[in-house]
């Protein structure tokens, strides 16, 4: 009985929490005049028209273009982060060198640093390099491991691997590089996958830097395209706006369903917050 009550409570809380998401999905199928005030989830008559409108494009640019740009940024970020952070993490966790302590402390400190203090000089750099309004300012920093948080995440994981493996690898004739490639890296897969998923989702959701760096509609990512709606919110465009919101959240939802265990474990063990 007590058990049942617990489940009822949990489900009720969950329903309240996820109501806005359900509302969004429902609204994306509703005609515009029904969206605003209707509490009901089920539309009186389900329409696909909103999605049709989205796929007709915005500001003369196809939605596929926005999607492609977003994918480019996210996939580029994932590759950059996983590669550069894994390399740095291996050095911090498995190798010894004189500056390890101070550099590690510095790396941790940069996690806490508000990015706003770097924004303007970084923008100036990318402007000098003539890279503004391309995806490079969004991907290049990841290739240089500026998301120090993920270095920390992978370090934590690599430190937990048994050192005997390193000894065994050495006896078998592996130097540090081959130990990294053949022993540590394969065993760190959970941490690398966690890094990849979080990087994907964060760069997919990222708004501030995309807002700053991308400024012609052809180069817009999905969040920026969605933002176009903000400036022109007449009620008639609500339907398409909701449909497009659903589309932008879809990849995150898919990642969540596929990897929820890893995601939640990643948060639990490292304390990263969304």
């Amino acid at each position: 009985m007590k058990r049942l009550l617990w489940h009822v409570l949990c489900v009720a809380l969950l329903a309240a929490l996820l109501y806005p998401v359900a509302w969004l999905v429902a609204a994306s199928f509703k005609p515009a005049n029904e969206i605003l005030s209707s509490l009901a989830l089920l539309p009186r008559k389900a329409l696909l028209g909103n999605y049709g409108e989205v796929f007709r494009g915005m500001a003369g640019v196809s939605v596929w273009r926005f999607l492609g740009n977003s994918l480019l940024v996210s996939v580029g970020s994932v590759i950059g982060n996983v590669a550069s952070c894994a390399l740095a993490a291996y050095a911090f966790s498995w190798m010894r060198f004189r500056l390890r302590g101070p550099l590690f402390a510095f790396m941790i400190a940069t996690i806490m640093l508000p990015i706003h203090v770097l924004l303007i000089p970084q923008f100036t750099i990318f402007q000098r390099l003539d890279l503004v309004d391309t995806v490079w300012p969004l991907i290049l920093p990841k290739l240089l491991a500026t998301d120090a948080f993920f270095i920390f995440l992978i370090v934590q994981f690599m430190r937990g691997l048994p050192k005997e493996l390193g000894d065994a690898a050495r006896i078998d004739g592996c130097g540090p590089v081959r130990t990294f490639a053949h022993v540590v890296l394969p065993l760190s897969r959970p941490a690398l996958v966690t890094t990849a998923i979080f990087t994907f989702i964060w760069s997919w959701n990222d708004f501030l830097s995309q807002l700053i760096y991308l400024n012609t509609p052809e180069n817009y990512t999905l969040p920026l395209a969605l933002r176009l709606f903000i400036d022109q919110t007449s009620e008639t465009s609500y339907g398409a706006m909701m449909a497009m919101s659903v589309l932008t959240l879809l990849p995150i939802a898919l990642f969540f369903f596929a990897f929820q265990r890893l995601l939640v474990e990643g948060v639990a063990t490292t304390g990263l917050s969304g």
């Binding site: 998401v21 203090v117 000089p121 130097g175 933002r227 919101s245 969540f256 917050s273």
Partner: protein, 320 residues
């Protein structure tokens, strides 16, 4: 790459470099370590240390991105604190936001973590489900939903009207607009909740058994066992969430259409910084604002660490 292969093949013989007679122990090749670190070192120098110094310099200049920066000394800082009412509005809005959203979020996170912290096959499912908003909430899409739900004649307005409360839309009302963003932040309590749950699992069952034997009720047990044992995790979440809250941007931008209105009621600090830097191109001024933010966040973090001595309990440490 060639050096690597050599080491690999040589096995027990020392490498060719002039090293002490002692065979280098595993991993003792500093050059190689720095090679692994090189992307990060490059990034740290070019994209972190360099820009920090640059923005400190720019904060003492008049800089519009296109002409060379003009040294103007402390003028930006004097203007900030002297005659910029919007700056104070932004600070006040941000402080209110941090003070409201962080405690509410943490209380919600702890409450739900306590609720979920029991042996059950379904715990994993609930944990993931409650965590989901933390992944979605940072997006423009969800902020748009918030904007529509809390708008005039939106879902919230309509339901409150049914109850006889007429607020006329929270988004356009300066008295309530900030609450829309607080609600958006609290909605994402899943991440700290997951961390709390991990912390709760670390508390030894014996403590609870002992307190049951002593006849302590649930509230007493919570106060005397759960809270002190969990205090390091609470502290961790508090620091992290506070720092995050100071930097909130997307929600305010989307809900207010980039303006921070109505009447600057959602003019978050970062939003004002963005406006100064990237719409007015007053980059020197914006740099000064960024440095004020860094210093304030640093001070608050330091103060939190100070107070931690008074209330954070580390097991194994002698009681104070």
């Amino acid at each position: 790459m060639t050096t690597t292969r050599t080491i690999g093949r040589r096995r027990t013989t020392p490498p060719a470099e002039p090293v002490p007679r002692r065979r280098p122990r595993y991993g003792e090749r500093p050059g190689l370590a720095y090679l692994f670190l090189s992307p990060w070192v490059l990034g740290a120098l070019l994209l972190t240390v360099g820009p920090m110094a640059a923005s400190l310099y720019l904060s003492f200049t008049d800089y519009d991105l296109f002409t060379t920066p003009d040294w103007i000394g402390l003028a930006n800082y004097r203007a900030l604190f002297g005659d910029d009412p919007r700056f104070f509005a932004a600070v006040w809005v941000t402080v209110k936001y941090v003070l409201l959203s962080t405690p509410l979020k943490l209380v919600a996170a702890l409450a739900v973590a306590m609720l979920l912290n029991r042996v059950s096959r379904t715990q994993g499912f609930y944990r993931s489900a409650f965590y989901a908003p933390s992944l979605l909430g940072a997006s423009v899409a969800v902020a748009l939903v918030w904007r529509v739900i809390f708008d005039e004649r939106g879902v919230v307005d309509e339901s409150l009207s049914v109850l006889g409360v007429h607020t006329g839309g929270w988004v356009s009302n300066p008295r309530y607009s900030l609450l829309v963003l607080v609600a958006l932040a609290v909605w994402q309590f899943g991440a700290p909740m997951v961390i709390f749950l991990a912390g709760l699992k670390q508390i030894p069952q014996e403590y609870y058994d002992a307190s049951a034997v002593d006849g302590a009720g649930p509230w007493r047990t919570f106060r005397s066992i759960t809270l002190p044992m969990l205090s390091p995790v609470i502290f961790f979440n508090l620091v992290l969430e506070t720092i995050h809250a100071f930097q909130a941007f997307t929600g305010a931008f989307v809900v207010s259409g980039g303006r921070g209105g109505p009447v600057d009621s959602t003019l978050f600090y970062t939003l004002y910084l963005y406006q100064k830097g990237f719409t007015e191109f007053r980059m020197g001024y914006a740099s000064a604002m960024a440095w004020v933010l860094v210093i304030v966040v640093a001070i608050i973090t330091a103060v939190l660490f100070r107070t931690a001595r008074l209330w954070v309990f580390y097991a194994g440490e002698e009681s104070r």
